[in-house]
Symmetry: C2
Subunit: 258 residues, 2 copies
Amino acid sequence: MACWARFRSHDDRSGFGVLDGVRLTQYQGDLFDSPQPNGVTLERGDYELQSPCMPSKIVALWNNFNALAEKLGKKAPAHALFLIKSGTSVIGPGVPIRRPSGYQGKIVFEGELGIVIRRRCKDVAPGDAGDYIFGYTCVNDVTAADVLNENGDFPQWCRSKGYDTFGCVGPVIETDFDWPRARVTTMLDGVERQNYPLSDMIISPVDLVSQISHDLTLLPGDIIACGTSLGVGSIRDGATVEVRIEGIGSLINTLAPR
Amino acid sequence: MACWARFRSHDDRSGFGVLDGVRLTQYQGDLFDSPQPNGVTLERGDYELQSPCMPSKIVALWNNFNALAEKLGKKAPAHALFLIKSGTSVIGPGVPIRRPSGYQGKIVFEGELGIVIRRRCKDVAPGDAGDYIFGYTCVNDVTAADVLNENGDFPQWCRSKGYDTFGCVGPVIETDFDWPRARVTTMLDGVERQNYPLSDMIISPVDLVSQISHDLTLLPGDIIACGTSLGVGSIRDGATVEVRIEGIGSLINTLAPR
């Protein structure tokens, strides 16, 4: 089991390593290809965590939990339904979510499990897909809800979910994670708003990786956000969202006050 | 005026440079940041062109030409309507378009103008947006048309247009291009199928760059595909599509025979 994190140290060095509690053992090389420890350890207070990887894209699922599908009256899809969040939307733990300039509307949180891709992945069979998963992280898939259906002719999934800072990822990547036993809990200013079992997922992580790898090539560090379930809600300016997955950690981001 | 291209030479070196007819003057450094000639020139037969840049994403417009909007009975949008094609969809001139594995349906061409971004671009005013445009290229925005509406609950824009090889780009980036005077012509196996004036564009290049830069950060080499107009059609296996824009060049790709 390893829990990987990227950091910026207080003397302004960036790097990555294995987090054990609050002690961070730095590694060098390529996070996804046999990195080696470099002998440096950092203690609590020496560093701040960044997003644990820098995806070229987030493939974000729609309608992938039975409970939410039932509530919305939607059929379970046979193939993963997704949009792409640009890599430029990604922020790490503790970084403020920013309201888009000129946008006065509703901003919505969605707590989700994120699958982090280990290596270039194309046309992979479900039975092999596990080898392409590096680990798991928490995602807050933020949406400018009033933009989504602002134009009646064209649902603006990529725009409403792709704003800079709308892809919250972290705090770490856990390589040894037993997803079917875990729950996603989302807290808004300390009040529980989502609490759903990952076992309710319609298309499982290995099937997601396999299906999506037949649609487009996944690259090391790319993230598949597995979709959300019941309890999605809006974030007031200044409010804090915590996406907590036992076995991974807590991803905390505040919507910057106006 | 300069016409930039990326190449692979027949002795297997990659690089980029300025194309003058068929002679290619190689440059080194960063294409988007003061590259310098390195004294090497390549003649016809020494090299093959690749996609002239490697975008992290293609921002692909929907409903951005008046003639097509009228035909479809759609109102002109006030803000750019777009989806994101993954950077992994990109191929250069001469590279075959590949039918997705297991997909038997219709594959459609769309000839388009592509705007290539020069430098990191966020919240840019229309009056400043020209400084962020490096140049223009041709795009064939390929779509697996039967995937788009395969699921009645969710239009699959990113999936149907995001398959590997579905983002044809090239042959070059032209830095001095008078877009309002040019036309996009698309030939299918030598027969003209599209021929539309860029002056019919609803949201102009500088307004596209400005608007989209308020939605998400554009990176050097990113492409905005300006949308298509009348004459879109399907490509039989083995057929060749040529997207031709006078002042830029001809982008030719064949749908690989089954």
